[in-house]
């Protein structure tokens, strides 16, 4: 079957934090068969080329989450990702990289403590007063389990966490993996710490409101957990359970209803004024001036009682639908 093998040169990002001043890239020539995984490529580098090449591996069955790396910036679970598929995607030029270069310890191995710290913050376990000698099991119905969506499938591999651009800029942000865990246990009917978790995840800089909505996490997850969907659920739960405080982010979300009820469209000027409050508007004066100068906005847009907004046709339908469909309030 050697005819089926593809001759390629695989690059790997190399770095030893103890001895190297700068990282470097090394090339390894090898043949890759159609059923081989990225983990097989890493094994080949270590076993056939350079025994010092370092990476984490354990179960080889997509369940321990140890072998998650990046290839050309794409998060992959090495024991699940087919190598040929990846070579096709990147035109046979691939570079194996650690999940986070700034956290690299040696080659593919990173210091994942930031991930575990974030995870621990959301209390990723069922918090409940349970009789030490219970008479029966604490069972969940299928419906109760399904309410957790597929959040229980998370294997803590870190693929979403290290794909998240918000987390890269803002180190305080909990990030998609911790937020999935927050949802998982808050949605669990046996748990009693839901409110505490919702309060934590409602905090500015830390919680769900710092998600940039890029969907990198949904794309990165090898278990198809779709973290951003759970972040969305947490947003809704904060309003449902009365945890949401009135702040710039929550008013920005709720303010959409106000505009849509009035015009059908979002009133772009009003949403900024409503979210910031009149006192906060000083921050936006320069931007408003720039936008006015180029004709993007008009002087009367931000002034109350002067209505310069376009309106949609059949606005009454939208108003009625808001009245009969809205379930949350701020």
């Amino acid at each position: 079957m050697s005819n089926d093998k593809r001759k390629v040169t695989i690059k790997a990002w190399r770095f030893n934090a103890e001895t190297d001043y700068l990282p470097y890239t090394k090339e390894y020539k090898m043949e890759v068969g159609k059923d081989e995984l990225v983990l097989d490529l890493m094994n080949k580098i270590k076993w056939e080329h350079d025994g010092s090449f370092s990476y984490r591996r354990s179960c080889r069955h997509g369940i321990c989450g140890a072998c998650a790396i990046k290839v050309n910036g794409k998060s992959v679970l090495a024991c699940k990702q087919n190598a040929i598929e990846l070579l096709d995607m990147f035109n046979n030029e691939i570079t194996l990289e650690p999940q986070s270069k700034k956290r690299a310890v040696k080659d593919m191995i990173i210091d994942k403590s930031d991930f575990w710290d974030k995870h621990a913050q959301v209390k990723p376990y069922v918090v409940a007063d349970i009789d030490p000698r219970p008479e029966s099991e604490s069972k969940q119905s299928i419906a109760q389990f399904n309410a957790m969506l597929d959040s229980d499938l998370c294997i803590q591999c870190g693929a979403c966490h290290y794909a998240c651009p918000a987390l890269e800029v803002n180190e305080d942000y909990l990030g998609p993996a911790a937020l999935v865990a927050a949802f998982r246990f808050t949605a669990d009917t046996r748990d009693e710490a839901g409110k505490e978790r919702l309060e934590l995840t409602a905090q500015p800089k830390i919680g769900v409101w710092d998600c940039v909505k890029c969907y990198e996490c949904a794309e990165a997850c090898p278990k198809e957990v779709n973290p951003i969907e759970k972040i969305g659920k947490l947003h809704n739960m904060q309003f449902e359970q009365g945890v949401a405080q009135s702040n710039i982010a929550t008013r920005h979300a709720e303010g959409f209803v106000r505009s849509i009820r009035q015009y059908g469209f979002l009133d772009e000027a009003d949403i900024v004024v409503y979210s910031e409050g009149y006192l906060g508007m000083y921050k936006h004066l320069k931007t408003a001036y720039k936008m006015m100068k180029s004709g993007k906005i008009h002087w009367q847009d931000g002034v109350p009682f002067i209505d310069s907004m376009p309106k949609i046709k059949n606005l009454d339908e939208v108003q009625k639908l808001i009245d009969i469909s809205m379930t949350n309030k701020l």
Binding site: E219, I297, N314, L321
Partner: protein, 298 residues
């Protein structure tokens, strides 16, 4: 080729802060002989923020918008990535969850509408490429963009989550997107290859996490500039607003001078098809872009 006809969902920005997006879209459609009916009844898609507040309400309102395209028996085209995402998410949720669809239709019945799921939802970029065809566009180019190095900026909500978009975006790979590059090629411009082309612009946290937003947009623009871009082009007016309006602010945050015109995808096409200066509306940009109209034919 039979004449293409679409129901256009304008979204909010094209009706307010980016009038140039609407005028250039209509100008391109006119030049290519594509018939457009504007969905004047359509309301805001919620832009993911209404969804954060009340997901069910967002589904009801988006389903109502789609109803109007269904009534016309047309594909609904969008000119904003975020409108595309949120409309497509409602469509997907309703088409795959009969219980939710019934609940939404119960509300819609109160205003005499019913969501059926018969209309496709497609961004104008992919309608141009997959349905009108790049070769046909190429035939209509009167002022080739060969003077320009153009950095394609894809915008998250057209390419991720890929599973949701695959039926409407020609199977675009979010890690190696090509649609905008091929469109730039067809207009004889020089596509700029740079690593931030498929990254986030930070628009959605502009208010509550301003620093994050400035860094993300700034990094992308600087990457394009460092790869010799003369302009950046995006199919999303929210990416446009972020990247056009705040260049001086993000420059301060990341410590670099940033000056790069940011065009809407239809403006770029309009430029190559020889549309008028007024239709292009480059005067509406915060970062000076009007010179592009004069430079194109030099």
């Amino acid at each position: 080729m039979s004449k293409l006809k679409y129901a256009l969902y304008t979204g909010c920005t094209a009706k307010q802060s980016t009038p140039e997006l609407l005028s250039s879209t209509l100008a391109v459609a006119d030049k290519l002989g594509i018939e457009i009916i504007i969905l004047e009844e359509a309301s805001c898609c919620g832009a993911s923020h209404l969804q954060d507040f009340d997901e069910f309400l967002a589904h009801v309102l988006n389903a109502r918008n789609i109803c109007y395209a269904e009534k016309l028996g047309l594909t609904m085209i969008t000119i904003c990535n975020t409108c595309q995402l949120n409309s497509a998410m409602t469509k997907h949720a309703l088409d795959t969850n009969p219980e939710l669809k019934a609940k939404v239709n119960e509300k819609l019945a109160e205003v005499g509408l019913e969501y059926k799921g018969t209309s496709e939802i497609k961004h104008f970029l992919y309608a141009l490429i997959d349905e009108y065809g790049l070769d046909n566009i190429k035939d209509k180019v009167v002022t080739p963009l060969s003077n320009f190095n153009i950095a394609p900026f894809y915008g998250c909500h057209n390419i991720r989550p890929s599973e949701l978009h695959h039926s409407s975006n020609g199977g675009e790979n979010p890690y190696v997107p090509t649609s905008l590059d091929t469109l730039i090629d067809a207009l004889e411009g020089n596509p700029v290859d740079y690593s931030h082309k498929n990254k986030c612009c930070g628009f959605h946290v502009e208010l509550q996490a301003n620093h994050t937003s400035e860094v993300l947009a700034g990094n992308a623009l600087v990457d394009a500039i460092d790869n010799n871009a003369d302009m950046l082009v995006t199919p999303c007016p929210l990416c446009h607003l972020k990247m056009d309006t705040y260049q001086d602010d993000m420059g301060k945050v990341i410590g670099r001078d940033i000056e790069l015109p940011v065009l809407h995808m239809p403006q770029m096409v309009a430029l190559a098809l020889g549309c008028s200066e007024k239709e292009l509306g480059l005067n509406f940009h915060v970062q000076k872009a009007t010179q592009i109209f004069n430079d194109v034919s030099k």
